[in-house]
């Protein structure tokens, strides 16, 4: 932490972290990898500052709390449109299909949130957006599966779910988008300036990058993102099957094709039992199961680091809890 970011020790960590992102996600030469300070919320602001102007607008797909925040940030800068929604009767219980999106062919970009942590929905396909660059907030499912990077204009992800500590955001951006970045911003807020400086435009959050490099090494040792995908699917399947086999004792409001592999959000038919479930689970060492405060219920966030065994223990606990209280 005390080493200079210009010294050889940090340089090596920095280059390795960038290279690991490239190799794990098979990033083509058409795209740049950046490490910036901040997280997704910072990117909500940088996107419109870099890419919106008085003559361009952007399309936003609204599938929950975080995509709403991204939309609101852009609205403070320039014109934005809603190109699709996951809302049904006031609740975000699905993601729209590609066919349901209405994309303005003149839009500066289309923005969507690939995985919605609070409501437990996830895009399982990359929608076709024609010539309009697709910008995706993957903060909660980056590195959880392989991706065809060539289909994206910008992918970004705050580190603190699948990658490392808070304080750093990974950005994968296509070169032709960098060329469109506004010139009227201080360099520190221009994606193109960070790309030109190889993410060393200013002092990077060195310790956060170091830990992210270590997590990426671990990911590689685990077999990379393909192995992660198999493991994550297996984990999610175990929990959804437990929910679906409970005869309604547990239920998920999310449409089956939109169910998230990262955040298993469910309710108990008896809502009075939900705090009991959370308390008993904590006593059994299963912590952090309370649903997002805007949604309630139960949420099992099973990011990359959560083991198959950990999920198995939760499934067994769910069955045991149902046996006693059902």
């Amino acid at each position: 932490m005390e080493l200079s970011h210009r010294g050889p020790e940090y340089r090596e960590v920095h280059e390795q972290a960038l290279e690991r992102v490239r190799s794990l996600l098979d990033v083509p030469r058409s795209h740049e990898v950046l490490f910036l300070q901040g997280g997704a919320t910072g990117m909500f602001g940088l996107l419109p500052l870099n890419l919106l102007s008085t003559t361009t607008s952007a399309d936003y797909v609204n599938t929950g709390i975080w995509s709403t925040k991204a939309y609101e940030a852009a609205r403070q800068v320039g014109p934005v449109r809603v190109a699709g929604t996951g809302e049904v009767n006031g609740q975000f219980i699905r993601v729209p299909t590609a066919a349901e999106l209405s994309i303005d062919p003149q839009a500066a970009y289309v923005h969507l949130t690939s995985n919605n942590t609070a409501v437990g929905t996830q895009f399982h396909e990359v929608p076709a957006c024609g010539e309009v660059p697709l910008v995706v907030d993957m903060s909660s499912d980056i590195m959880s599966k392989p991706l065809d990077i060539s289909r994206f204009g910008i992918i970004y992800a705050g580190a603190q779910k699948n990658l490392g500590p808070s304080g750093v955001v990974i950005v994968i951006v296509k070169h032709d988008i960098l060329e469109r970045c506004s010139q009227k911003l201080p360099d520190i807020f221009r994606l193109a300036a960070h790309a030109r400086a190889n993410s060393l435009l200013h002092t990077p959050p060195t310790f956060a990058v170091y830990l992210t490099r270590n997590v990426l090494d671990w990911l590689k040792d685990q077999g990379g993102v393909s192995a992660m995908e198999m493991r994550n699917r297996k984990k999610a399947r175990r929990l959804y099957e437990t929910i679906d086999a409970s005869g309604g004792f547990y239920y998920s409001a999310v449409e089956k094709t939109s169910r998230s592999v990262m955040n298993i959000v469910f309710r108990l038919s008896s809502t009075k039992l939900e705090p009991v479930f959370i308390e008993r689970a904590a006593q059994a060492g299963l912590i952090g199961l309370k649903g997002h405060r805007a949604v309630g219920g139960i949420r099992a966030s099973i990011y990359n680091v959560i083991s198959v065994e950990g999920v198995e223990r939760l499934a067994q606990f769910m069955n045991e809890f149902m046996r006693i209280y059902g």
Copy 2:
């Protein structure tokens, strides 16, 4: 690092870190303390985005590399003026006196860099700026001495010199300045929005804040900023006296009244001996003495954490080196 920033464990750390800044610097109720992501370079950009407009300009005092960067960032956003300089014949060897500054009474703010790390100059008095808010980058001398906070509009400091790891910047800002912040920015870039959210607008760099809290605790145990000032002056005096007593073997280009207490920048009259000095010093366990790449020579950065004993070892090494090579 894995704890939620909304949980009670982090909340306590967060509140303590903010409170320690308040108590150590005796921050009055007129000023807010913020922890933001990034560092000084981020603030170079946020300042003009928040406070410049088509009808206002800002004044910048130019005393070296970092103040030039701050000026350049503002120039990308709106009109800026140079209100004073520390340049003499193309070299930054002093800071201007208060009388030498020419401040536009209509300026949105006056910006200066209190300590210039590369050239080794420092403001030892706070210039009077009338009604114009004084904005100071104190990245390299925050917490090195007591301050009369009421005289400042904004003080900011990247953590990585005197406070903690890179990735967090402390901002002390007067309430009436918050009210002037632009409304046309995403909240993440509005100082007022961070103040309203008690620096929890988004996920803070939790580990960096935690370590900063620990450094502030250490500072308190050491006797606070008054004790630091005495210690820092003693350290600097020991090195400047060694330079001044060397009969020109060592010399400092900096005007005596502008000499920095944090960064002792000096040369050897025989520049050929400078790499030898750096090498022999490293062999004696005295590392990091190479001058900034834009300036050359020798630089002893003696931030808060450097002990009196460490400085004494350097002074003795300097005398010994002169005895052999002089």
